[in-house]
């Protein structure tokens, strides 16, 4: 990767972040909606910590923080895909394709923007969590590890959103993934320990890669970091990232072959 590619990625990433801040309809699913759900679910199901089998935690908010972060990140990936599809619909991507820059830097720029937004969302939820009584057992290094995982999740899930945008070129199709995000979330341990979920969701959650990612983010909040949880989270992120970026590369190649 050349210095020019890096500059292109940085410029397109910055554009992507600015675009999200300018359009409330892109910002709402990343920050506002997950924050509202976090507040309501934490207070509504807060007594869940009294259930036998619930992992030892200071409070339900500490448990739920990771779920809110991953929800926000998945929706950021979806919003990034919508914005990319809008760019394709409006012809902006065609102008980029005609420019003397690496084609894949165009996609990486969008993913860099999604990763930056995911990082901002992680900081937001850590601050909100600390204000409202959550505690991070692993302290500052634990918080940094959470941000690291959330940023990587942004790239991984952003890749999936980008691949659908590049394949279809239609914002409405990417927007249609919104309900699917919640299906995947509900079939993971994002909001509840999988051993306390009802079947068949409990079994699905046990093997869902998203559960491993969420547990990687949650681990420093509720206990000491363990290598096995860290390793499973990294492996799951690598898997989702490889699928997302691989599909994006294929979709981009197909789009170029078909003439943009």
């Amino acid at each position: 990767m050349t210095a020019t590619d890096l500059r292109v990625i940085a410029a397109l990433g910055a554009r992507s972040v600015k675009q999200t801040f300018r359009r409330p309809q892109l910002m709402a699913p990343i920050i506002i909606f997950p924050s509202i759900l976090l507040a309501i679910q934490t207070a509504g199901a807060g007594r869940a910590v009294d259930l036998p089998g619930f992992p030892p935690v200071d409070n339900f908010l500490s448990f739920m923080l990771a779920g809110a972060m991953i929800q926000s990140t998945m929706l950021a990936g979806n919003s990034g895909g919508i914005a990319l599809a809008v760019d394709i619909e409006m012809g902006f991507t065609d102008r980029l394709l005609a420019a003397p820059i690496s084609r894949f830097a165009i996609v990486l720029g969008r993913l860099a923007g999604t990763a930056a937004l995911a990082g901002l969302a992680a900081v937001w939820f850590i601050v909100v969590g600390l204000i409202f009584g959550a505690s991070i057992q692993e302290g500052v290094p634990g918080a940094l590890l959470m941000i690291f995982f959330v940023v990587l999740s942004g790239v991984a899930f952003g890749g999936i959103g980008a691949s659908v945008a590049l394949r279809t070129g239609r914002a409405s199709v990417v927007q249609g993934l919104f309900p699917l995000v919640f299906v995947i979330l509900f079939l993971s341990s994002a909001f509840f320990p999988d051993n306390l979920m009802l079947e068949p969701a409990a079994t699905v959650a046990e093997y869902n890669p998203l559960s491993f990612i969420v547990e990687g983010i949650r681990d420093p909040v509720i206990s000491s970091v363990t290598w096995s949880v860290f390793g499973k989270a990294m492996a799951s992120l690598a898997l989702v990232g490889a699928i997302g970026i691989g599909l994006s590369a294929l979709a981009l190649r197909r789009r170029l072959r078909m003439g943009g």
Partner: protein, 256 residues
């Protein structure tokens, strides 16, 4: 304009909304899909909350289904606001305003169609719910739940109409939907009042929609009593009066 003509105008507006559903069946999907996904998802995730001491039923899906039905009505009603905003943007609403139909008649046509449309997600949710073991609420319990759903659809439509007339743009859609989501979820949505913690316990105690939820829920988690019904009816009447007045004010102020 006589009563007969007014009634025919309301019926024509309801038919127009129904035609929209027949011509674009996909338009009804988000209003059905979102509450159904949330119903199935939340039941799977939080189902074991019913094991907590003090929980009013052993079946979490029976506890949750009225919330999802009301949520479906909320989304459907808010969609009326979005459709009205689209009509305003495209100039169709201006033509409606210069027609001889009085403003309250136009409002009645809009909200009545929302009340009827809110039965679609409710029917889908009931079918899914009974398939996964939701308790039969009895004829009386079902009737009360359906009545609450239709009224909530009307309330949401009034809310959506007020915002559509205020902002005159479809970009106000998130506000229409978020408003209904908030008022429905800040109740005893996830657990009985005694099991709610922190700020939500206080908000749910004073949120009038809690009474509507309890009235709609009673048949699913136990027997139907007048004591559990009248506070819900009173809350519905109050919310309807308030939001219909706001929508009507917006309608009367709307200038061509």
């Amino acid at each position: 304009m006589g009563w007969r003509a007014q009634f025919e105008s309301v019926a024509a507006l309801v038919r127009r909304a129904a035609n929209e559903l027949l011509r674009v069946p996909g338009a009804a999907i988000p209003g059905v899909l979102a509450p159904t996904i949330f119903f199935l998802g939340l039941t799977s995730v939080f189902g074991k909350l019913s094991l907590l001491p003090g929980f009013t039923t052993a079946s979490y899906q029976s506890f949750l289904i009225p919330i999802s039905m009301l949520q479906g009505a909320g989304f459907t009603g808010a969609a009326t606001g979005v459709n009205l905003a689209r009509d305003i943007e495209q100039g169709w609403f201006d033509r409606l305003l210069v027609s001889p139909a009085p403003r309250p008649v136009i409002l009645a046509g809009l909200v009545l169609s929302a009340a009827l449309r809110s039965l679609i997600p409710a029917a889908v949710l009931l079918a899914v719910g009974f398939a996964i073991g939701v308790q039969w609420p009895g004829f009386g319990g079902l009737l009360i739940a359906v009545f609450c759903v239709m009224c909530m659809g009307t309330i949401a439509a009034c809310w959506g109409t007020t915002l559509a007339l205020r902002y005159r743009s479809q970009s106000a859609a998130p506000l229409m939907q978020a408003g209904m989501l908030l008022i429905i979820l800040t109740t005893t949505a996830y657990a009985p009042l005694d099991l709610l913690t922190g700020w939500l316990h206080t908000v749910a105690r004073y949120n009038p929609v809690t009474q509507v939820v309890e009235a709609a829920r009673q048949g699913f988690v136990g027997g139907v009593t007048w004591g559990d019904t009248w506070p819900g009816l009173l809350a519905l009447a109050g919310l309807l009066a308030l939001l219909a007045a706001l929508a009507l004010r917006g309608m009367r102020r709307a200038a061509v």
